[in-house]
Symmetry: C2
Subunit: 174 residues, 2 copies
DNA sequence: ACGGGCATGTAAGCGGTTACATGATTCG
DNA sequence: CGAATCATGTAACCGCTTACATGCCCGT
């Protein structure tokens, strides 16, 4: 349950609504940790009930902004300092690569070219993110986007490298 | 539902049991696409019922080896060629990095040092994988491990780089 | 007045994990 | 004969997605 602490962390920057948080999780964090609005609203409700966040203000269009409480702040701090990191990685594109030998060489080339492009675009997107301000949270976000850039560049380079490999087709003679 | 096609793809290499496949998904693919035995046995049952795989042999300790059928082969080929790639990435360590500014500088340094080590170990593990034979599927696995190496090296380098950054502490004066 | 974006929710279902449970065989 | 490992399963739960549904406000 990382989303819970993700929301808490974002609210540590300042009050925000479910809508705001949804946008951040889609656009800013979409490429490293996506989340959809139903999960977010549900979790906000739970966090509020448990007193980790509280209603900060109500705006037009029944907008509800939440702020983090003292309890919430200590909760996120404890999580960051003490809770074990979940290193789970699950990348469908890499699972697919195990089966490249089952693909037609032409299909594989097309596939890798498209993958390369996609990853390069993602890398560029985060590279363009540029400065995030000189606030503490802005500087941390800068570190995060750097990770995203390096990650997607690594995948783009890999796809490019894979294109240079002799295609390992199934049944060359069989 | 990628696991389904993951199993199909591995069975395309030759007959295997749920136990065999579980081991491959834990050890060989654990760092890019982990899967646990309950899911695997359940999925094998379903695949068998649908005729995409079939019982190949029964061994000692009630071992049941499955083989892929013609239907299954065409299913995995269609999936690889036509089904859209799921590019979802969800990395808790990168979500955490958004909140580095909430951590004590000392805790952060320790955290990054441990992360760096972890990723370097993973990279080394896959680097050591070395040759996977000259069979078509072995060559593809080589391409996959190359991706894993590049991915984990990128993360290790990132953690090392992050250690050189001035820690963006919260509330410098507040 | 109405269309589009802001804003919040509910419900069903899926994919995956964890814990529990058990049987069979080999090796020392 | 006991421990370790091979081997297969079930049940409960969790986190997340998708589809569905609705209300409100602003600009044209």
């Amino acid at each position: 349950m990382s989303l819970r602490h993700g929301l808490l962390g974002l609210l540590a920057e300042g009050p925000a609504s479910g809508y705001d948080l949804t946008r951040r999780f889609q656009e800013e964090l979409g490429a490293i940790y996506p989340a959809q609005h139903p999960k977010i609203y549900a979790e906000l409700g739970r966090l509020c009930a448990e007193g980790l966040i509280a209603l900060a203000s109500e705006g037009p269009r029944r907008r509800k902004a939440y702020r983090i409480t003292e309890t919430g702040m200590s909760e996120i701090r404890v999580w960051l300092a003490e809770h074990e990191v979940d290193h789970t990685v699950r990348l469908q594109p890499l699972l697919r690569s195990v089966f490249f030998w089952l693909m037609e060489p032409d299909d594989l080339r097309r596939h890798l070219a498209r993958e390369r492009l996609f990853y390069a675009e993602q890398a560029a997107r985060y590279e363009a993110y540029g400065e995030c301000g000189d606030t503490p949270n802005g500087q941390s976000l800068r570190v995060t986007t750097e990770a995203a850039v390096r990650l997607y560049r690594a995948l783009a380079d890999w796809a490019e490298w894979a294109l240079t490999m002799p295609p390992a087709t199934a049944k060359p003679g069989d």
